[in-house]
């Protein structure tokens, strides 16, 4: 070990691997992973979310799972909880939608309206 910078580099590299164990006050992304969700393809969505969050080094964002959200016909579903804001529910999510959700919603704070449950219900009647 020759310098504090070198130590900091190791710290940052490892921190991204283990910071889910720290208390997080930040955004929580939850994927519905009950039988219905898994059958509809929630697993690749979950993996894509984990990878995307890691790629962007978003340290205050956690990705976790939940059971059946209730609207099984709309799975895979992803819900985003941001402190102080309303929960946003995305439906029929596929891995290629994940990039936009993370970039526009998680990073910039603008929910992707056309992926949300409200938009879906309005436009599929």
């Amino acid at each position: 070990m020759k310098s504090l910078q070198e130590l900091e580099a190791i710290r940052n590299k490892t921190l991204s691997q283990i910071d889910i164990r720290k208390k997080s006050e930040g955004t929580r992304i939850v994927v519905g992973m009950a039988t219905c969700g898994i059958a509809a393809g929630a697993r690749p969505v979950l993996t894509a979310l984990v990878e995307e969050v890691a790629k962007r080094n978003l340290s205050d964002v956690t990705v976790s799972q939940t059971g059946c959200i209730g609207a099984c016909r709309l799975e895979p579903m992803v819900e985003v909880y941001t402190p102080g804001k309303d929960k946003v529910t995305y439906v029929k999510v596929s891995p290629d939608m994940v990039g936009r959700i993370v970039a526009e919603h998680i990073v910039n704070g603008n929910p992707v309206t056309e992926y949300t449950i409200g938009y879906h219900e309005e436009n599929t009647k």
Partner: protein
């Protein structure tokens, strides 16, 4: 880089290890890979979580779900339900005294009142990976000291923080470092005292098992502050997991260049070696410990000279306890004011206690100084099992004293505990209820010190033995008038005349129980009764004829055939044959047998 969406932390402390946590880890790895989750879920073995009562303990992040009493057979369910489908397994969640099942460990009563400084990484990081320690700001304090502070500045920070020795004595750490730094010598040493010997105490073991790098880092900081380049950790050979993790940690630190030559490119050199103790209690005394490292018989020598002037191999040496060291990096990182803002006026920071005895949440707790005994026992410890009455708490192990119920609201700090005749000690806290006989408790601790006395000075070698003789005859029902006074006189003399801390404090358990429970001593001596119903020689087992239905269950289980009678008529115990084993009491379904 591998990113895992979920971490399964399994306790690898000694407590959980002995209740099969290694098998649970293996099973998790097996099940996780069977479910195809091995790229997503990481299984980590950590140090002690503290709530040993609930072990084996498993925590799943990011949810922070706290599973208790986990069995190998529960693992497939946790994997298929929680890790695969995100459904927390409610039936395995720790419940404690709450009505609702708590999902997260931060909300559990046991953790709510705690403030974790020395234990901050225990149960959070993998102690066998230096990277995880570094990720939680490890070695940053050492780097900061070496590159930004002079040795004197480091000592000043520790002095201002008000950190006092956590091994029990409570000597100001900064002052100790200053004395040693002031000595001019070509060689100085840093010693970590990990010879934890109090019955029921396991704070140091848990720190070494759960966060070994914190101790190494602090020792290097101490070395820089006083001008030493070599450190020794004196640890009991009875702590195999702690020793193994220390060895791994030292190797990793050397490889990373955090021990050895030219640390952080500053030219500072420091290395650490482990010395195993053979388990003699007296070797926790600093002069005896030094003698033991030197290869001599572990016996204390008179002070002065103090180790800071003439210690290991005759060179200036500082000796600090494991927990003291574990606080040091945090003080450097957060500043002395942060540390001194916790605790009471003369006792700053936090203290770790090993909670044991008649208490629901057996385990390891860290609380700010000044927390009351009542808060520890009833709020963190969850109270006394079976709704029994609190009688006393024993702090400081064989050197400490018993604190009665009337002092439950005493704030825990060095000076308050000394004022009521006990002491902080290293942190063992044994809770006793109405079934504990205080005379026998005193006898137990004295029996321990008589065994562990090194025999060098007569007050300790002969005096404690004589005290034990008196106590043994009291519990055997042969106490004589004047015994209490003799114990008091002997105790005071030993305290004044013994050579080292072991002897000076050995009479404490006796003197404090006499002070607060004199009536129990008197009952033993004059009435030949043990009020707690504990001392066998002073009690008889008697069958209550109105309750006995004559089922003969007691007679069948009696090993000496002392119980006789006719079926469906009250039975009787022949006192001359009864050996007072208690087998009949456990067997009787009608509560008809009493100890009198």
């Amino acid at each position: 880089m591998d990113i895992f969406r979920s971490h399964v932390l399994v306790c690898g402390g000694t407590g959980c290890t002995s209740s099969d946590s290694p098998k649970i880890i293996d099973k998790f790895n097996e099940e996780v890979s069977k479910a195809g989750l091995d790229k997503e879920v990481k299984v980590v073995r950590t140090g002690c979580f503290g709530l040993c009562e609930a072990g084996p303990v498993v925590i799943v992040y990011p949810e922070g779900s706290f599973y208790s009493h986990v069995k190998v057979s529960d693992v497939p369910e946790i994997v298929s339900e929680h890790l695969l489908k995100g459904r927390i397994v409610q039936r395995l969640l720790y419940q404690g005294d709450q009505k609702d099942v708590e999902m997260s460990l931060d909300n559990i009563g046991f953790y709510k009142k705690q403030k974790r400084v020395a234990l901050r990484n225990c149960g959070v990081i993998d102690p066998e990976r230096i990277e995880e320690y570094i990720a939680f700001d490890g070695y940053k304090a050492l780097g900061t000291c070496l590159t930004e502070y002079t040795p004197q500045q480091v000592i000043d920070i520790i002095k201002e923080s008000g950190l006092r020795g956590r091994g029990g004595g409570g000597f100001p750490t900064g002052l100790k470092w200053q004395f040693c730094a002031n000595e001019k010598n070509d060689q100085k040493y840093v010693i970590c005292n990990a010879d934890e010997g109090d019955p029921g105490a396991f704070m140091d073991r848990s720190v070494l098992e759960g966060d070994p790098h914190a101790v190494l880092e602090a020792m290097a900081i101490a070395g820089y502050a006083i001008g030493a380049n070599m450190g020794y950790i004196y640890v009991r050979a009875e702590y195999p997991i702690a020793v193994k993790r220390l060895e791994i940690a030292i190797d990793q630190a050397r490889e990373a260049g955090l021990l050895g030559k030219d640390i952080f490119g500053t030219g500072f050199e420091f290395d650490i070696d482990i010395r195993l103790g053979a388990g003699a209690f007296v070797c926790g005394e600093e002069m005896a410990l030094i003698a033991s490292i030197e290869g001599h018989r572990g016996e204390p020598t008179p002070k002065p000279p103090f180790p800071a002037q003439k210690g290991l191999f005759g060179k200036p040496t500082i000796i600090n306890n494991v927990e003291t060291f574990a606080n040091v990096p945090q003080i450097i990182l957060n500043g002395s004011e942060w540390f001194s803002s916790m605790g009471t006026e003369k006792s700053n920071g936090t203290k770790v206690f090993a909670l044991g005895g008649k208490i629901n949440n057996t385990g390891l707790v860290e609380i700010p100084m000044g927390t009351t005994l009542r808060e520890i026992i009833y709020e963190i410890g969850g109270g006394i099992p079976g709704g029994k009455e609190f009688k006393a708490a024993q702090t400081g192990g064989p050197s400490g004293g018993c604190i009665p119920a009337s002092h439950l609201d005493t704030p825990i700090d060095y000076d308050s505990l000394t004022a009521i005749g006990s002491m902080m000690g290293s942190g063992g806290l044994i809770v006793m209820d109405e079934d504990n006989c205080m005379v026998d408790v005193a006898r137990f601790f004295l029996d321990f010190t008589v065994d562990e006395s090194c025999g060098k000075c007569p007050p300790c070698r002969i005096g404690t033995k004589r005290m034990l003789d008196i106590l043994e005859r009291i519990v055997a029902g042969q106490g004589q008038d004047g015994d209490i006074e003799k114990l008091e006189q002997l105790g005071e003399n030993i305290k004044n005349a013994a050579l080292c801390g072991l002897g000076k404090t050995a009479p404490n358990p006796v003197l404090s129980t006499i002070k607060y429970f004199r009536d129990e001593y008197e009952a033993h001596i004059y009435d030949k009764k043990c009020p707690a119903g504990h001392c066998k020689a002073l009690l008889n087992y008697v069958i209550d004829k109105s309750k006995c239905i004559g089922c003969s269950a007691c007679a069948k289980v009696c090993p000496t055939g002392a119980i006789t009678g006719k079926i469906k008529e009250p039975f009787e115990i022949d006192q001359s044959k009864c050996i007072k084993c208690g087998a009949c009491i456990t067997k009787c379904k009608f509560g008809a047998i009493e100890k009198k």
